[in-house]
Symmetry: C2
Subunit: 371 residues, 2 copies
DNA sequence: GACTTTTTGGCAATCGGTTGACACGACCTC
DNA sequence: GAGGTCGTGTCAACCGATTGCCAAAAAGTC
């Protein structure tokens, strides 16, 4: 079978773009598709060559290890001539400083941790991107960890991560305030999408976006709407609900809370029956994923959107504008929050930091006037 | 300003779900939305308490550090009574082993690296999930790195990562074969979506899915189709093109290659004019992102899909079934590849490993019979 | 009771860097 | 020429674990 693969993808020295002139294509039969008998390949976990150390460089150049260390990290401290010799040797040996050996005496690991409930939730894309950009610009490494919405696990992972990181960004953490404060006693911690006293916190200001959304619905004639609640342990869910509660009151719109539900498409879908039963003409969901879940279920149920039900999401994730109808939503400035969080940790600046960029209402096609 | 925020999100000891009865809601004026003057908060980067070490435990229990180390890691080596005393002390001090101090003498870091061109590309979601699942089940940590489609940077990051990781998974790497082989001389390396001689490689078998796709198009009466090429440095792009080339030939369908383009929605959109000019009735894109880009541009240009143009994507990413029309695509078993890759590195098994699970054609609504 | 074996715990070296203290020579100054 | 300064490089301690080897104590054997 491996033969067939190699015929199919003939290798060249540079690995790809081989001429396919004599490749043999044949359909894979069902028996070949079975899991049990994939083509297999041998792993070569054999003898590896240990990476070069400053001791190797020292021996080769005839200086002491400490001189090597200084030549490589303290420009000017060592004679330029010597420094160059050392640099050349380092390059020829393919030297790379061992980050752990370095971290041990210094305490600096050159690494920031980013913890979120679900790495693959599109909501966090821009946030991750933003943090990545800042981190790598500062020559540091960003490590991502996932807590799977489990408090138990989140604390454990956070503690583990904390020991090997210069700072930690907690996004939409489900931990208790005290637990977060405890973590911050060990290493700098920044929380995003949550407000914790005494901890650098960055939350978008939900008022502008939500306010515009409510006005928008009011202008379309909606008098009765629902909020699709996310996880009850989510601080941001509480904020969105409370804010909406007041704004709806001010606008004279009646509001019901439906949920809590899982912050996923499935979670949204599951709540549709209750939405229908409530008789509301519009829903605002905790996030876009839930909104998309509702949207999909509506299509399956034959409920016309936006004619019979208007839907508003939250976050403006990837894909929100690809649906039909395109999803009206409230955009959170997550890229900016990610950047800021990373910058704060990266600079270790004692100065005050920005904390509350505004959300923006994005009007698309999933909202319309009440019939 | 911070006052307003606190009024808006009043804090309680447990952090959320505070009563919002007296919160004050007012619209944010435009001047407040300006970037310059976000509410700010002071960071407390003050004196941190250093984490507990085995020396602290040793002192408290009156034994030597080596005994502590053994009590915690070599069950049975130490008297149960002593071991328990040590465990209790460790717990009361909140001890957490410093992974770097441990890695230094042992060489084992308990960490796997996963490198991909773009963390936030939905294509890789399932792959990341799969790798994460296996890794964390094995008590290890997965660290993600992003290479931004830049070979220079990818090599640099890979080398840096390699020093602090037990093994490395390279996904859709743009590196040269030699570079990858060199990396694998230092630490175990697995490549995904690419075939490199001598390196454990996992690629989906594109034939089944692509074959069904071509048959599908042929049955719908398409006689002339286009392939929207992805990055020319992508091994997988070459494979998809070559395979399609043969399958189309066998089916008697004429085929043109359009591109290469960036593997993004923008990349797909940019190629639409050339698709139109070519006069084909169907396109198969390098990936779903490009297919979605074409789809969106078609909508903007008033080109009906699938009536005037059939579109097939690749990978079946999140959102592919949310569009209108829902995207017909070829699903890659990436979750499985991610799991397998992680398992191979995690077990360090010398045994042979599965390597080529089949792709599956997913027929949805973006393909139809030629008028 | 003397000898052997097993259990239990400590000593010290090691991993690969960093860094404060210091030695040595060159150069400068009065 | 004595004293001071500066530039350059080495020594040795240290970060927090792991682990091979050994010693003391306890248990077992004849």
């Amino acid at each position: 079978m491996i033969d067939r693969l190699e015929q199919l993808y003939p290798l060249e020295s540079n690995g790809y773009r081989a001429c396919a002139g004599d490749a043999i294509i044949e359909s894979t039969g069902p028996e070949e598709a079975a899991m049990a008998d994939f083509p297999a390949v041998e792993m070569g976990f054999g003898n590896r060559k240990p990476p070069a150390t400053i001791y190797d460089i020292a021996r080769q150049t005839g200086v002491s290890p400490s001189t090597v260390s200084r030549a490589l990290n303290k420009p000017g401290r060592i004679n330029v001539k010597t420094e160059q010799r050392i640099r050349d040797a380092a390059a020829s040996l393919g030297y790379r400083a061992n980050p752990m050996a370095r971290a041990l005496p210094t305490g600096r690991t050159g690494t920031l941790g980013l913890m979120l409930s679900d790495i693959t939730n599109p909501v966090y894309f821009d946030l991750i991107r933003g943090a990545e950009r800042v981190t790598s610009a500062a020559g540091q490494t960003l490590v991502l960890a996932e807590s799977q919405e489990a408090v138990e696990r989140e604390l454990d992972d956070a503690e583990r991560l904390l020991t090997s990181v210069d700072g930690l960004i907690l996004v939409a953490s489900r931990l208790h305030d005290e637990q977060i404060i405890e973590l911050s006693a060990v290493k700098p911690v920044v929380v995003v999408n949550r407000l914790v006293e005494g901890i650098a916190s960055m939350v978008p200001d939900v008022v502008p976006g939500l306010s515009d959304a409510v006005t928008h619905l009011a202008e379309l004639g909606h008098r009765s709407i629902a909020y699709l609640a996310g996880p009850s342990a989510s601080w941001m869910n509480a904020v969105r609900w409370q804010t909406l509660f007041h704004l709806a009151g001010q606008a004279g719109i009646s509001l019901v809370e439906i949920g809590p539900g899982s912050p996923t498409m499935a979670g949204g879908s599951a709540l549709l029956p209750r939405v229908v039963a409530s008789g509301v003409t519009a829903v605002i969901a905790y996030n876009d994923l839930m909104a998309l879940g509702v949207l999909r279920s509506c299509r399956e149920e034959g409920i016309l959107v936006p004619d019979r039900l208007s839907i508003i999401g939250f976050d403006d994730i990837f894909g929100a504008d690809l649906t039909t109808p395109a999803l009206t939503t409230i955009r959170s400035p997550l890229a900016q929050l990610g950047e800021t969080a990373a910058r704060v940790l990266s600079d270790r600046s004692e100065t005050s930091i920005p904390v509350s960029p505004p959300t923006v209402f994005v009007s698309r096609a999933s909202t319309a006037a009440v019939r």
